[in-house]
């Protein structure tokens, strides 16, 4: 066993002289150092193994035999289109025979075509047919039958009858069509209600817009006043208050100071 000093000197990149001095002084380290010298002598006899020309040729041919993982990604994509030249296909296959990750990626993508198409459930056709939207009625009839048009027509008819000097209710009663009378009355009422609703909504909108503008104007005014005050305050020199030199009034604020403090507050 050495005293570990030799190792410490070695790790500290000590000079040969320091190590020799310790070897001379320490018996165990001297034996260890002698063994190390033998190892060093054996190592010094050796040289690097030489690369044969055949091996060099094989190493140079590597790019023609395989591809990198990043290139393999591209080739796998091209191979799916069956557009890969045979040489590239051979390189890709060789690479995949060595690289598990690329082999798995390639097989997974190639397997996409082999996947079976999912069959629809037997009830799916019936459900789709049942949920199909019904055929729309003709547009012209729908327009005439719409509530707005009916109301308008009824209103127009009532106006025409009144202009002709007849009471629509009497006419309706005479004609024996009470239903028409009720319908006309209801239609006139609905039209009136609808008009009132619309007027009310427009009025509310106008009030809201007015309030919004009022708020804007108030806000801007306040901001302008604040800015003006700030500018005025900034332009005034901040002088220290004049205090009397005598000690009689010390600690008592002057009138103008009180006003300034209040204003700032």
């Amino acid at each position: 066993m050495s005293c570990a000093e030799l190792e410490r000197l070695f790790l500290a990149d000590a000079s040969g002289g320091e190590m020799s001095a310790h070897r001379a002084a320490c018996g165990p380290c001297a034996r260890l150092a002698a063994g190390l010298d033998r190892v060093e002598a054996a190592l010094s006899d050796l040289r690097p193994a030489a690369v044969s020309p055949a091996l060099r040729e094989r190493l140079l041919s590597i790019p023609a035999r395989t591809v990198s993982c990043e290139r393999a990604d591209e080739l796998v994509a091209i191979a799916l289109e069956d557009a890969l030249p045979p040489a590239d296909l051979a390189r890709l296959e060789f690479h995949c025979s060595r690289c598990e990750a690329c082999a798995e990626a390639s097989q997974t993508l190639a397997g996409l075509r082999e996947l079976a198409r999912p069959e629809p459930a037997p009830w799916l056709g019936g459900r789709i047919a049942a949920n199909r939207p019904r055929r729309r009625e003709r547009r012209g009839w729908r327009v005439v039958a719409s509530p707005k048009v009916v109301i308008a027509l009824a209103y127009a008819a009532a106006v025409i009858v009144m202009l002709a000097g007849f009471n629509p209710a009497d006419l309706a009663r005479k004609a024996g069509v009470g239903r028409i009378e009720e319908t006309a009355r209801a239609s006139v009422q609905v039209a009136g209600n609808s008009l009132a609703d619309r007027l009310g909504a427009a009025e509310e909108n106008a009030l809201r817009t007015l309030a919004r503008w009022k708020g804007h104007v108030t806000g801007y005014s306040r901001a302008a006043i604040s800015t003006a005050i700030a500018l005025v305050m900034k332009s005034e020199p901040q002088r220290p208050p004049n205090r009397p030199r005598s000690g009689e009034d010390k600690g008592v604020l002057q009138k103008n100071e009180i006003e300034t403090s209040t204003w700032r507050a």
Binding site: F10, L11, L43, T66, C69
Partner: protein, 203 residues
Amino acid sequence: MNGTDEKALVERCRRGEDEAWRELVDRFGQKIYSVAYHFTLKREDAEELAQEIFLKIFENLHRYDGGFPLVAWIVSLSRNLCIDRYRRRKREKSFRFVSDDAVAPLLKSQDDPASEALKRERAKLLFSALAEIPEDLSEILVLRDLDGLAYEEIARALALPDGTVKSRLFRARAEVARVIRERHESRPGGTLASLALAAGAFV
């Protein structure tokens, strides 16, 4: 070659420039083959391993970001392959027996046959001792003393602090020295024979 040049070389290889790949092979082929040989001690295995390492380099060029020396990146990339081969060799019965053929390609040529035989014996002893010490120590000794990697390169390749690399290297050398000494002492023929051999081999 600095980090920028190495990154540029790798980029050219990625773009498929044959000349760039040739440059990379010529620049690092020798070192990688040496590393492979020191882990396998068999020419065929070393060539196969070196080829495997270069295939891996080519397939992973996009992973090199130029953050540290290219040789360190290559060694880190090939470490698992080397360790696998090393363990495979370790499982074989002839693990501790190092043949003349195994060390012959590593010996500097000698005019004197007696001197050559002596160095061959020392090299065999060295490699058989390396096989007996822990794996984490032997790999650092191989990378530093046999393959000539710098401390920083080894530290990067093995993801270790520089201080740990130096400390392990010292321990590896000390362990090899201990194994060699114990081999001599336990050699049949007595102390005199081992002393004579030791004198012939190491003095």
